[in-house]
Every structure is written in structure tokens, then in C-alpha cells.
Symmetry: C2
Subunit: 206 residues, 2 copies
């Protein structure tokens, strides 16, 4: 009876989304609002309207929920953004496109961004390393393009790895506080920041 009711609500309300996705979605929101440590399994269970013990049917522990959120986001992020940095593209175009995507994608998944950024270090060392590897992959790919731009004479920076970090810090800072008024505001700001990064890479007098 209860189950039938839940299924009925489910198919109407949150259309086919299964329990695992419901848990990940609610947990991410709670982790963002209260922090990983302060959000309890009881809180998460309450959000998806099941009992705390039932959570362990889908996830072996609280940490696995956090890891699923962080790793899922970072994997999707790299799939979307890293593709912009292909080697057969002019360095300027590639970086401009990557920064733009970086901002737009991060805005679309703002909760995951904040959780991954803030709560990652609550994970065990090994799972942290998995996610850090994905982040490093992005950073290194960006640094390679910067390096290439320097060799081609379109960029001029004192240190390409430092420049990549500076650009990423600037953009990662933005996506944490920026809440666009509408889609046009988002697109405009993404383009402006892409401009800023290109300007930085061209005008960093060493």
C-alpha cells in the first residue's frame, strides 16, 4: 500500500527518477546547505521520505554518497569541458571555449560544484585522489594549451602552469558566488570571463 502510493507519487512528481538519484540529489543539496559533517543520514532519509536504515540498501556508507556526488560531477565536467581543449584548435579559441563551457556547466550544476569543492576533503585519501586526478587532468590540459600559445607567440606569461592556475582560480572563484539573473546574464558573464582569461594570458608582463 505504502509502496504503491510512493510509486504513484514518484511517476507523477519526479518522473521515473529512481531512489539512488533521489538520494544523490537530496544529499547534495543538504551537503551544500549544512556541510557534509552536519548533514546526517537521518536528514537525507527524511528528504526522500524513507527510514535511515533503508539508505544502506542503496549505499554502503555516507562517504560513498559523497563520493558518488563528487566523482559523478567531476567526470561529467571533464567530459564536457576537456573536449574543448583539442590540439587542432587555435590556443586562443580553445581556451575561450573551455572557460565558457566551464562557467555554463558549473552554473547548471551549481550544487554539485559547491559540494565537490568544499566537502571533497572529507573523503578517504584514495577517493580524494581519484577526484584530484580528474581536476589535475583538466589543469594540465589547460597548461599545455597555454604553453602552446606561448610558443606560437599569441600568449606571453612568466610560467604557463602558474598562469593556468591563476585563470582557473579566477573562474572557480566566480562559479562559487555567481548567480546569474537569467540565461543572457550567464552567457554574457561567461564570455566576459573568457575575455578576461585571454587578456590575462596575453598581457601578463613577465
Amino acid at each position: 500500500m505504502r509502496l504503491q502510493f510512493q510509486v504513484a507519487v514518484q511517476t507523477q512528481d519526479i518522473a521515473g527518477r529512481d531512489r539512488v538519484d533521489q538520494v544523490l540529489h537530496s544529499a547534495a543539496r543538504l551537503f551544500r546547505e549544512k556541510g557534509y559533517g552536519a548533514a546526517s543520514m537521518r536528514d537525507i532519509a527524511g528528504e526522500v521520505d524513507i527510514r535511515p536504515s533503508s539508505l544502506y540498501h542503496h549505499f554502503p556508507s555516507k562517504q560513498h554518497i559523497l563520493f558518488a556526488i563528487c566523482n559523478g560531477f567531476q567526470r561529467d565536467f571533464n567530459l564536457d569541458v576537456l573536449a574543448q581543449l583539442s590540439p587542432d584548435r587555435a590556443p586562443e579559441d580553445a581556451i575561450r571555449a573551455a572557460i565558457h563551457r566551464h562557467i555554463v556547466f558549473s552554473n547548471r550544476r551549481w550544487t554539485d560544484v559547491l559540494v565537490t569543492w568544499r566537502e571533497r576533503r572529507s573523503l578517504p585519501r584514495e577517493q580524494q585522489a581519484t577526484i584530484n586526478a580528474l581536476r589535475r587532468q583538466y589543469r594540465d590540459a589547460l597548461a599545455v594549451v597555454v604553453e602552446r600559445g606561448c610558443r606560437e607567440g599569441v600568449f606571453e606569461v612568466p610560467d604557463s602552469k602558474l598562469a593556468a592556475m591563476a585563470a582557473l582560480d579566477m573562474v572557480n572563484g566566480l562559479v562559487q558566488w555567481f548567480k546569474p539573473r537569467d540565461e543572457r546574464d550567464l552567457q554574457l558573464t561567461a564570455t566576459r570571463y573568457a575575455d578576461a582569461v585571454i587578456g590575462l594570458l596575453r598581457g601578463w608582463e613577465g
Copy 2:
């Protein structure tokens, strides 16, 4: 006897620093390493070699320890950095000096930087507001100088508040991961980042 021994060690080892400072110092390091939630009063007490209950002789609660760390740092930070942004200084010089100080000061108190940045939101709303007000004061002061630079024609940015945020995010990103090899490395990087910010403010094609 025990107390006399402690005093003897104290005056030799950590020269006149009293219990309150010892607690703040140890707590900050623990909050940085384990996070505010995961670092317990028992951990802090163990670090300064007293019993947990004795902590409440100096601080009314754990949150007051965190607030003392964050507020103390941000107050000192503003005293040091904000002074560089005086109105009778050329915008370029003022910002260059402020960014340089920002980086050098943050490096000197790296632990406080990370704790203030990451754990601030564990504070009650009112205490958060106190610290946020200090941060906003710095950000606004920087935006004012950027605005002045734009009117004087030395800067060209699409939005002076957005530009100030971009510059601050870049620098705040740096101070969180940057560990200089030595004093020369610190000074060099601080100067380079000051250059980068000036370059950004001059070359942000709107």
C-alpha cells in the same frame, strides 16, 4: 609542581605565549588539518596538554574558538592590506601594493587563511556576518580604486565590482595552494600576481 614545570617550559619554548594563544594556535592547526567538525575539543586539549574541561576556563564554547581565529585573522588582514588602498595614491600603485601585501600576509598566516576561508560557515549567522563585513570592506575598497582607475583612464573593465571580484578570486585561490620555496620565491610570486592583476584591469576588453 606541574604548573611550575609548565611555566618553565612555556617561557623557554614558546616564550610568554599564554594559554589562550596556545589554544588558538593549536586549534587553528587542527581545524585546518581535520576540519572544524572533525576536530574535537579533546583533540585541542591534547595539543596544549590540558584536560578538555579546562578549555572552558578560557573559551565559553568551541564556536568561540573558531570565531576568535577567523575574526582575529580578518581584522589583522584588513589592518595590514586595507592601508595600502589610500585615496591619495595612484590607482595602479595602490592595487599593486595591496595585492602584494595580500599575498605576503596570507602566506605568513597560512593556517588562519585556510581556516577562515573553509570553516567560517560553521559559525552562527551573526558571527559570520561580522567577518563577512570585514571581507566586504576590503572588496568594496578595492572596487572603489578600480572605479577611480577607470575614470582616470588607466584601467578599462566592463564592471568594476566584477573586476575586483575576479582579481580577488585569483589571489585568494593562490594563497590557498601556494607554498613558496623561500622568501625570494614568495616575493617574486607576489610581484608577478600584482602584475597580473594590473594587466587584467588594463586589458579587460569589454
